[in-house]
């Protein structure tokens, strides 16, 4: 079962690199923010899978929770900032 979770983590890690294309070449700033939010969501699952592989889920679940909160706040703050910058 450990090998299954390791394979799942590697698959998600490869998907992160495909999303990274949209971060680097995406036209406009909104495409980049949406892609960074998608990468943050994948990182949340990768952190939990790392916890299972290392046998320390009780520690990694707290890091994962903090990452979910920071990803949400960061996306919201970037959206509000871009909206206010255009209106002023």
């Amino acid at each position: 079962m450990n090998e299954f979770f390791l394979g799942a983590g590697i698959g998600l890690f490869v998907l992160v690199f495909f999303v990274l294309y949209r971060v680097v070449f995406g036209p406009g700033v909104f495409n980049r923010i949406a892609a960074i939010s998608a990468i943050g969501t994948k990182t949340l699952i990768i952190l939990l899978i790392m916890g299972i592989v290392y046998g320390r889920v009780d520690m990694f679940v707290d890091i994962s929770m903090a990452y979910a909160l920071l990803n949400f706040i960061g996306t919201l703050a970037a959206a509000k900032f871009l909206e206010m910058e255009k209106q002023s």
């Binding site: 998600l12 998907l15 699952i45 979910a68 949400f72």
Partner: protein, 105 residues
């Protein structure tokens, strides 16, 4: 030892990784910003919920599983909110939606 909980957890994890894959394909292939947000906003939410439920089943009944369920509830509320906020900001800033026959960005 293969038990029912492990098989159920593996099924949930494989479903989650499938929906992550489809969301990534949509993010790379769709023609403009709003259609890409449609792919990632819904696909990533479902995928993260399936993956978290799979990991919680693998952990069994414990405080860690309770925290994982809390993350799942939080993501189910936060991900649509973030998608709505960023799409409202793009609409007010003047990003034009894609029409049929238009240029792909």
């Amino acid at each position: 030892m293969i038990t029912v909980a492990i098989i159920l957890s593996a099924i949930f994890m494989l479903g989650g990784i499938f929906f992550f894959f489809t969301a990534t394909v949509g993010l790379l292939r769709f023609p403009d910003f709003f259609t890409r947000l449609h792919a990632t906003g819904k696909g990533d939410t479902l995928a993260v919920l399936l993956c978290l439920i799979g990991i919680a089943i693998y952990e069994g009944v414990s405080l860690t599983a309770l925290k994982i369920v809390f993350i799942a509830v939080f993501m189910a509320m936060a991900q649509p909110t973030a998608t709505h906020a960023i799409s409202k900001a793009a609409m007010r800033t003047g990003v034009q939606p894609w029409r049929k026959g238009g240029n792909r960005e």
